[in-house]
Symmetry: C2
Subunit: 429 residues, 2 copies
């Protein structure tokens, strides 16, 4: 039976988070928003995808989705499945639109939202949560869904296939373990730059009481403030708990090295985005200088070519792929396999709108089929905006429970779309 | 006297070039278009800027300009001049919009169009062509206009100032030389992939007759076709003429090295965009492998951080900065100074819509104040769409003549805007 995609709808949905100081870091601040894509089909089943933005400008990614939608509308799922890399390349390398990236920024984020919506549709048609749908695909089909252009110097299709086949060993045991214990997580809710010290202390205490053993703080303000806040959080954490730090690209390379010298006494587990996201060589220098502190990056790494280089250069020790900045599941698969080949753990970026919902599936797939270890693996968790999704994440004692409903978990409630649609929803009128 | 910017207008202007095969290469094809920005002021003087796109999607960059316009509208030229790096950063690091790049793709191209329009306005107010306006600025003012964030590991403000001061020596002689002889150029009009062999031969003959001693062909199709076309062009060129090749990123790293082995017999002067534009390490590998053929890149290099790394890694021997992909004149200045520090010649990317008009000013400034040499310097020239500008380039015997009218030369004729405005202009109705 062939299912045809009959319509592509785009909604500009924005939540007024800026006023509360939630989500403020050294370089971003805004109203957490989603460019939300709904696919309709002649089979009645729908597909949902989104990309996250910081508010103003969400109309730009919406416009980009509209410019790309014709590559999806009218196609059958069968056709798409028959030439998956070709399908993804039709969107990411459109001869008129590629110039606007290429494969980066607005146009690539829009590609990610659309491509993810197609995967959500496929998983729903199969009646499986995305992680299971992906994890049960044969190695050949996973490889066929990847556009290897520009990464074959680091990973060939043959190597990817071998890796997937070899790393499938022990699948059942790993799945049983996840079903029993869930997937490890850490929380970013304790230390936004917008929060006063007392709130940081209180939130850290509460996080410890809630079972969190790994927390992340934002750094990159005045260094004395960072040091003071690090001390507060470290004081409240039990021995052995992990403290991650996130600079959101605010530092120059030498500043990053200097700042981390000041913050080293608080035993950071990783430093995230120490400098500009495009700076492969800069991250490599920082990584050498701050060792044994790990360098983590990826939430704004534009595409597989940037990740490839970060891995080739020894510039990252923690791969924080985002589910919807790159070209959707297809490109994420390329990045997970690159990370597995280079032996670098994947701790996906989350937070924002729907990112936790998305990335849990990716981390679970990675454990089952690619990375094959929980050592150093954690999914980011931020406790806001989950109430807008029909299948929100479940996090218990600092661990994600496996999703069970079919699909990729980013379907928004109709009431949330209507209520927060910009500029005509009641929240914005 | 303080001049206030009272309005920012954006026009979606598209020229139907795709049907003719002009501008087709291995990876781009489309209707050459401009996101065209007009600033109005309370002094009556206007400012024009644009960014180039390949057609579909021009509405996306227009939307991005609208999202950024409030950083420009209502400000005075005095205010902007008093804090130039701050002004440019207010646009390129807007806390809600930076996420959409950061500093890359749609949002950064829109920043470039806006920032360039402000520079055009400033040059017009000063009554000077942009190259002269820039070249006559004191070193301190040039340095103050640059946002050094994320490049200080390669170039500090102090180094930039020293370089500008040192390289000003001989200014008058260099200017006299340019006034006498113009600036060297090369033509890309002979070898688009869309052209049949006979047309390639005919165009090469005509180019030689017109005085061109350097021409560029597109490569990256089937290698036998590239070899055959290279032979045709080399046959028609006189001894000593330069033949450049441009792959527009179509190859993987190893493919690029292999293809250049096949094309080496035709003595290419450079290979342009041998692989993905983001691949610093890949370009470095290609550069080592194809030496003494130079690697040229830059037309889609996203920002100063990518150029910085390309230079640090020895990945490019020819810096092809684009006038409006990066964040306007301010960021171009950073890139020109980085190239000068690393001793790499600048041959700006042109063609498209208005790019020749733009970059002539940058190359002239570079010669007068930064690079200080014509050795290996050439401005790209493509002979289409100049008729739409009020101050089009003048190219005689393969050399650009110095612009004399005030401004940055990208003001479009009102009739062209009205005639080709999408979707309501007569060309599109």
């Amino acid at each position: 039976m062939s299912v045809r995609i009959t319509g592509v709808e785009v909604h500009d949905v924005r939540f007024p988070t800026a006023a509360a100081g939630d989500g403020s870091d050294a370089i971003n601040r805004g109203d957490y928003s989603a460019t939300y894509v709904e696919l309709t089909t002649d089979a009645g089943v729908t597909g949902s995808g989104l990309t996250f933005t910081n508010g103003r400008g969400n109309e730009i990614t919406c416009a980009a989705v509209r410019a790309l939608a014709h590559h999806v509308a009218g196609r059958t799922v069968e056709e798409i499945e028959a030439d998956q890399a070709g399908f993804s390349r039709s969107i990411t390398a459109d001869v008129q639109l590629r110039w606007l990236g290429p494969e980066k920024g607005v146009i690539h984020m829009a590609a990610g939202a659309l491509i993810n919506a197609v995967w959500d549709l496929r998983a729903r048609l199969a009646g499986k949560p995305m992680w299971r749908y992906l994890a049960e695909l044969p190695a050949g089909e996973i490889v066929a869904s990847i556009d290897f252009r520009h990464i074959t110097d680091a990973l060939t299709p043959g190597e990817a296939r071998d890796l997937l086949e070899k790393n499938a060993i022990g699948y059942d045991d790993r799945l049983a373990e996840l079903e029993r214990n869930g997937f490890p997580a850490y929380t970013t809710s304790v230390g936004w730059l917008g929060y006063p010290d007392a709130k940081v202390r209180e939130l850290t205490r509460r996080a410890v009481a809630d079972g969190w053993t790994a927390v992340k703080m934002k750094v990159g303000g005045p260094i004395e403030d960072d040091v003071r806040r690090a001390r507060i959080i470290r004081d409240e954490l039990p021995p052995g708990a992990l403290l991650m730090m996130d600079a959101n690209q605010v530092w120059d390379v030498d500043e990053a090295i200097e700042a981390m010298r000041r913050l080293a006494p608080f035993d950071p587990y990783w430093i995230e985005e120490p400098t500009h996201a495009d700076d492969v060589l800069g991250h490599a220098r920082v990584a050498r200088a701050v060792n044994p502190v790990r360098v983590a990056t990826g939430e704004v790494a534009a595409n597989r070519v940037i990740f490839k280089q970060m891995l080739q250069a020894g510039a990252l020790q923690v791969c924080q792929v985002d589910a919807c900045r790159v070209g959707g599941v297809n490109e994420v698969l390329a990045i997970l396999l690159l990370a597995a080949k280079f032996g670098v753990p994947v701790c996906p970026h989350a937070g924002g709108v729907g990112l936790c919902e998305y990335v849990q599936h990716l981390a679970i797939f990675d454990y089952l089929r690619a990375g094959r270890s929980l050592d150093g693996r954690m999914i980011e968790y931020v406790d806001h905006l989950h109430e807008h999704f029909t299948d929100p994440v479940t996090v218990v004692d600092g661990r994600y429970r496996l999703p069970v409903k079919p699909g990729y978990s980013v379907e928004m409630k109709p009431g949330s779309i209507a209520g927060f649609r910009f500029p005509d929803g009641p929240a914005w009128r």
